[in-house]
Amino acid sequence: MTVADAVIIGGGIQGCSAALHLARLGAKAVVLEMAHAGRHASGVNAGGVRTLGRHMAEVPLAVAALEAWHRIGDLVDDDCGFESVGQVMVAETDAELTRMRSRAEDLSHAGFLHEEPIDSADLRRLVPAVADHCVGGLVARRDGAANPFRATLAFKRKAESLGARVREGVRALGIERVPGGWEVDTDDGRIAAPAVINAAGAWADRFAAQMGDPVPLQAIAPMLMVTAPMPRFVEPVVIGGGRTLSFKQFRNGTVLVGGGHRGRADRASQRTVLDWRELSVNAESACALFPIMRTARVVRAWAGIEGRMPDDIPVIGPSGRQDGAFHAFGFSAHGFQLAPIVGAVIADLVTSGRSRLPIEPFRIGRFRAAAG
């Protein structure tokens, strides 16, 4: 039997970030990863580092995370390909623009100034190639994007250099309460620790249930497409106001088109199947906002498996039932950006029982009635 300060189930960016922050506080965690670190959502996502348009409950975490991204090299010794190119949300109608303005106002009342409304002229300065009918938008100038797999690997490597162990190819089979903590059964022996952290992404509901916290998690498969190189025509990341679209051009000219359209996820085989009817809608949106995209050639499309909660915000915090058990999952397709801060919050909770930021809205107990 191995013994550790904490066992983390899941070697995505959340598990690796928790391990890294625990190590900074002197606690040595073992991360169990059934595939390899970054194999799932964390390695294949769009890399969007976005505070723009976040659920109000997530704003404090997202803003703190953005600060961490701007100094990401200090945290993980690698720039993770992070570029602060800004993110722009495009309004196609006046009604959308009005909604965006009032959102910015609400945020500023709450003390957050990162989202600025822009008019049609500003929009064209920032995004010259945008379609003629667009009327304005919202911009978060310090937002940007990073390279997801590289970032996940950087978190993993830094955690390891500080004393964490990341065991790839080792699957957690079940967890069991024992006096003084937990035992995790794996396909390669058992591990005991006073604390266990459930960062198993789309597979996390199983472990939540074993901790006494059943949740209605849905495994979803958001899809992305990438094109052959195009001349440089857009600098910031662009998202749709009225349609689900996310759009980013890389330095090499290739364009990433996404927007949360879903394929099919199969958790057992860890595979996804694309749904072209859905991608077709996505493609139509991209062509509508950027007519230049019509002749862009899609080189590849893929999907990642992600855990989604019914209210589209994650579960972050201690178990509602058991001591020494913690959750960080259900990021509902926007958890990459939050990773630097969620890991810190989890490390706080494990070592001191307190979080540096408000996480009440993310408590697992909120589903108790629903999940029975």
């Binding site: 052959a228 195009m230 001349p231 090499n252 230049i292 002749t295 050639r297």
Partner: protein
């Protein structure tokens, strides 16, 4: 670098342009074959380093023969059959911007 054999079966002459210059091909030929047979070896420069490239595999595998055909960029010249009046443009780096 390539030439047609002298005693081929008769095929209709097809006229197309490459960067505005007129060339002749034979019906049934691929655009890539037509380019090579009229002495065009380099059909594009790469988006990564700007290096010159020409058709390599002639069977749709390598994507080194990418050209713009009738305004549509990034088409595999070896997989498209020539047509009268076709306008072929060689591509510089990442494709040209459309109007």
């Amino acid at each position: 670098m390539f030439a047609r054999l002298p005693d081929l079966k008769e095929r209709a002459v097809v006229r197309l342009t490459v960067d505005g210059r007129a060339i002749e091909a034979r019906a049934g030929e691929s655009v890539a074959a037509a380019l090579l047979l009229s002495g065009v070896l380099v059909v594009r420069t790469t988006p990564v380093s700007g290096a010159p490239r020409g058709p390599f595999c002639m069977m749709g595998v390598c994507f080194d023969c990418l050209v713009s055909i009738d305004g549509e960029p990034n088409r595999q010249a070896c997989m498209v059959t020539v047509r009268d009046g076709m306008q072929v443009e060689r591509m510089q780096g990442a494709r040209k911007v459309d109007p």
